[in-house]
Structures are given as C-alpha cells and as structure tokens.
Symmetry: C2
Subunit: 386 residues, 2 copies
C-alpha cells in the first residue's frame, strides 16, 4: 500500500498566475500537498486564456490544464470584505502562501509579509517575482523572455554569429518555480524546529544567474564573456550533436576512457595517439578537428547504425528526439513521465509526469484534472464553517 505523497499534510494557498508560481505549486501538489488556487473572479488565472487550446473554437486552455492539475479553485476579490474574510480563514489554516505579484501589490491589499506574519506566525510566505523584493528593479515586471535575455542564458545559446536564440521552454519561469519549492521546503524544515514561518523571496532573474554554471566560471577565469557554441559543450569534448547520414546523434564521451572506447566503436583507432586528442583539454582546444574526424565517419550511415555500436561500447550517446519521440520513448513510459492529467471537464490531457520518485509513494499515470474557476467554493466554505 502506497501513501499519498510525502507532503500530504500540507495546505498551500496559491495566489499565483501563469507559470512560475503555478509550476511550483504543481510540483508540491504532485508530491501530495493540497493546493487551493485563489483566483480573481473576472477570468481567473491569466493562463486560462493562453493557448494552446483544447481545439479550434474551444477556448479551454491545455496550457492551464497541464500546470494546474490536482488543484482546487476558489474565486475571491481581495478588495471585497466578505471575500477577504474567506481568504483570511484560509490563511489561518494554511501552511504556505504562494504569490507571484509584483512586489508591493500584496502590501497594498493589506496582505504583505509583515502583516501576515504578525497574524499567522506559522505561515510560510513565498513570493516569486521577476526581479525580487529588493534592489533597484524590484518594482518592474518581468516575464520569462525578459529574464532569459537579461540573465545571460541567451548569450550562450544558439550558434556563433547567428541570431539571438531563446531556450525553447520557459526556463526563466520553471527554474524560479523549482527554487521557490526549495525555499518553501527549507522554510518548512526550519519551522519544524522553531514553529515559526519565514518569507521566501525568489526572483526569476536571480535564478537565471544561478543556472549559468560553466559560463560564469569561464568569464571569471578569462574576463571575456563566452558566446554561444551551437550544439557542443564548452569544456568537454566530444560532447555535442554530430551529423550522420540523414540526421544527427549526440555523443558525450566525457573522459579519456570513453574517448578511446568511442574511437574503437567507430573504427577510428588511427587517432588513438594523435596529440591533438590526448586529453579532454586538448580535445576541447581542437573541438572542430574532433567534429571533423567523427562526422567524416558518421556520414557513412544513419543514426540507427551508429547508436547500437556506441551503446555496446558503453559510450554515452543518444538520438535527437522530437516531442512525440521523447514522450513515446520506452524509458519515458516506464518511468511514468508521460501521463494523463485532465481538463476541468474531465477530458484526459497528455502531460509530463512527476520526476521526483520517492519510495513508499505511488507514482500514478493519471492525475486529477485542473479546476474550473471557483469550482471548489461551496466545499471550501463548508469546510471553513462559513
């Protein structure tokens, strides 16, 4: 018998909209937490109106449904006295409040961190914002695209000399969502010791800086901002997409042993003693020559020929999957990473699963649907005795 998730004792009040905050509360919900979305009465979460939609002419957002599965919804006008009383009754019973308004909006409603902390000392208050609650830009709004640009990740993504290139998913929002979850769980850990909640302040821009890793180290050492490198790693070689007959494969031979194994697998033993390729540093200095050697051989056959040879030699490699191939891949299926969530009306919706597998807990291949706006009002009011 499996338990309903390690966070099943937690209640999250979620004022957040669109992606960073809702992604954070989706992760918490997938791990068992109860998430109550508090939405504006006029239309609710903005992402209810952002595509892709269920079908032509059916303005039911698949985007909203995929990120808000398993949550409850109540529509509250936080400027209305009656609705404020409901909101306060929710906070009194909650463990965590999540919001992603611009800094200052909650305080102007009388629900800033200081005010809430005084009234609900155990409550953890997590704010995910574009630029954070401090600093000269704190009052500015940001979306994913803005922080991808300002945080530097676009400067190292794409091809040398090519146009600016966005990371194809909203890593600005998603990494902020993940760090927000980490902040919430860290504050919960501390509350377990002290009994007192804390304010968690996560900025999307900060999170973009935090994931630059190697690019910061290269700049720190050289004083020169690195540029984009197309499809290869800056300091591990070979570690790139290489052209084959009719396609590309990725080869990631991260150390000398794997390099030698790759040369054997591709029948390129004549390069074993080539001084240009004697170490990872040497290979990185001659990355173009490495690519030329590999691609000259790979051009003879398609990916389906080369991947089994490299696999058999233990060389990390793989095909370039499109979204369908990634979701249909047997390992993806075996790990319950392609699941069914549902639209508010119960229609199933293919979605990504929960990547945090914890022993003793189920890992269902179906998840409850996303809520219609205000769907849970009656049940919540009854529960609150209002």
């Amino acid at each position: 018998m499996t338990k309903p998730g390690p966070l099943s004792d937690l209640t999250i009040i979620d004022l957040s909209r669109v992606l960073a905050g809702p992604y954070a509360t989706m992760v918490l919900s997938d791990l068992g937490a109860r998430v109550i979305k508090v939405e504006r009465p006029d239309g609710g979460d903005d992402s209810r109106h952002i595509g892709p939609f269920k079908a032509e002419g059916v303005p039911e957002s698949a985007y909203f449904a995929s990120i808000n599965r398993g949550k409850q919804s109540i529509a509250l006008n936080l400027k209305d006295a009656g609705d404020r009383a409901i909101f306060e009754a929710l906070l009194a019973r909650a463990d965590v409040l999540v919001e992603n308004y611009r800094p200052g909006v909650m305080a102007s409603l009388g629900f800033g961190w200081e005010a809430l902390h005084a009234r609900y000392p155990k409550l953890i208050y997590a704010a995910a914002s574009g630029f954070g609650h401090t600093g000269p830009d704190s009052q500015k709004a940001a979306y994913d695209m803005v922080v991808q640009a300002m945080g530097g990740i676009m400067s190292v993504t794409g091809w040398p000399g090519g146009p600016p290139t966005r990371v194809g998913t909203s890593v600005g929002d998603i990494t902020a969502g993940l760090f927000t979850v980490i902040g919430i769980l860290s504050a919960l850990h501390e509350r377990g010791k002290t009994g007192v909640g804390a304010f968690v302040d996560v900025a999307m821009l900060d999170c973009q800086i935090a994931i630059l890793e190697n690019a910061v180290a290269r700049y720190a050492v050289t004083g020169v901002s690195p540029g984009p490198l197309g499809a290869r790693h800056p300091s591990i070689t070979p570690f790139a997409a290489y052209a084959c007959q009719g396609g590309h494969i990725v080869i990631a031979a991260g150390n000398d042993g794997l390099w030698q194994a790759m040369l054997d697998a591709l029948d390129l033993g004549m390069f074993k003693d080539d001084p240009r390729f004697a170490s990872n540093s040497a290979r990185s200095d001659h990355a173009d020559a490495v690519a030329h050697v590999i691609e000259s051989r790979l051009a003879d056959a398609p990916p389906s020929h080369w991947l089994p040879l490299l696999d058999a030699a233990g060389v990390p490699c793989g095909p370039l999957h499109n979204i369908q191939q990634a979701l249909d891949y047997p390992q993806t299926r075996a790990r319950n990473m392609a699941i069914h969530a549902a639209y508010p009306d119960g229609t199933p919706l293919l979605a990504a699963g929960n990547p945090v597998k914890i022993s003793g807990h189920g890992d269902p291949v179906t998840r409850p649907g996303a809520p219609s706006l205000d769907a849970d009002r009656a049940a919540i009011l009854k529960e609150l005795g209002l």
Copy 2:
C-alpha cells in the same frame, strides 16, 4: 543577527561527481547544510580535471571550485575495509546520502538502498542518475548532452530549419539537481512525521520531460511535435527578441493591455484596431506581422533609446546581456547574485550566488572555498573518534 541557513542542522554525505549531484549539494550547502564530499583517492571528483582552469598551466578547476564551495572533502576507497568503516561511521551520523553513480554500482559495493535502509533507517538516500533506477535504460550512462537530445528540449530550441542547438548551460544536470533537492527536502519533511528515511530516485531524462511545459501541451492538442521558434514564445505575442538599430531588445507584452501600452510607447497607435492583432491568439497567429510592425519602428534607434520608453509605459522589456553584463547589472549585484567563492587555496573566484532568499538568514557575498581532495580527513576522523 542572522542564522546560518535553515538547513544548518543537516549533514549530507555526498558521493556525487561532476554536476547534477554536486549542484544539488551546493544548493543544500548554500542553505546551511554541512556537505561532506566522499571522493575517490585517485584524483577525486572528475570535475577537478575539467576546465575552465585557473590559468594557463594551472590545472586548478574553476568549474569544480564554483560548484563545490563550502563543502568538506575526504578521500575514501569504498573497496578498502578501513575506508569502508569510516564511510559507515559517516552514514551513521548523516541525514542524507547523495550519489550519482549508475544504478547498481552502490549495491555492488554493498551500499545499495535496501542494505543501507536496514542499517540506517533514518537515512535519506538520494540517487541522481541519467535514466533512473527502473526501466529498460536504467543501466545506461548519460550526460547532460544526451538527455538534452533525448528529452526533446533541443527539438524546440534553435531556429526553424537550422542546425540542432543545445541549451547553452547544462539544464540536463541542473534541473536534475534541483529536483533532487526537492526530493530530499520532501523526504526530510516526511521523516519529521515518521522518523523513517526514504529512497529518492531522480533521473536526468525524466527532468527534461518535466520542463517541456508548453511543448507537451501543444503536442497533446495537435498531435504534431512542435519545432524550434528561434527567439519567440510559441503562444504569447509579442514575446520575443526584436532587432533594433545595432542590437536586439526583448519585449514581452503578455496581455492586451500591455500590447496597447507598447503601441503607445512606440508611437504605433495606427495598429490599435488592426484585427490581426486584436487578441493574444490573433497576434500569435500573425507573429511574423507583429515582428515586422515592431522591428520597422525599432530600426530607427538603438536599444538605449527604446528600453526607457517601454519601461516608462510599464511594458516588460529588457536588453540582451552577455555574461559580464548579466553579472555586473545593478539588480544582480543588489541581490548578491554575483559573489565570491574561492579555489581550494583560498584565491577568490567570481561565482553565482544563492537565489533562495529566506528571511532571518544571511545572504553572504563571499562563500567559503571548495576543498582540496581529502582536505578534511584528519578533522573528520577526529570527530568520528577514529
């Protein structure tokens, strides 16, 4: 007076190498946890030998130093009886074990999850691997590049018709690191209720699926795998990098009000009633026309002319920063996101800060250095009474 981080009561034993695991334990360390790296005696963590290096001819890795700041190091041969006894004494006092070996390696050493759980029932065991501990590919090795390719993110990154494009940072490792932290903290939360540890199994490939968001929804709705879109968002318009005189800026006008505000700010009021641009859906269907309208105006002046106008109108926008500009940006500095860590010899090293800001805890602009291999052996043995 600030406290030393919300996780300061925790001890993490860290067998992990290179990036996914070490990034996870860096996040935990930045939040106050004590992290003891257990490294192989012959060379230690592989990333000690991966560039960028401190200087030409100085094989001290800036990459290693930036990810392993504030950790301790002890070199142990887990096949040696004496070293195994030290390792077991560490586990007996630890809260969490982190490893990123291929599944099966720890069991072959006698340190698999079942064996350790029987001996140390409170211990949380977190494994970050390429493909996870279950499924047909579980025994295969993966590096960042492999899961970026197989997980689909490369299929939506880059330009239509262009070559495959890697996300310029190791999002395959980093997202696995972040989900591993979330798994560890979730298991700690449950241990607070039950007193019993759990096994956390995070796969890099799973994490790539989990961050596809919009791309999965688009595929779910259409049955067609989406392709790359260069520098724009698939379903929000305008939400892209646009060319100006001598550069690019990002404009992210995510709703109708912001679209109108942008038209006013750019003196493009003649398009206010254009039916092609009447809603976000309509604008997304005419994204090329939107870009043409915007870029025709932006071509008249450089980014420094347009950004203040858009800022004043409240339209989310921003410059494309290179790494130096991102790190030197006043908001980045104000948020302590460009900090100094240090090489093992104490030489300062510019690095990214901790994006999880939690009230009551310090957010230092200097962090302790990374350890030399086995630097803490004597102190640890003394502490263990060995």
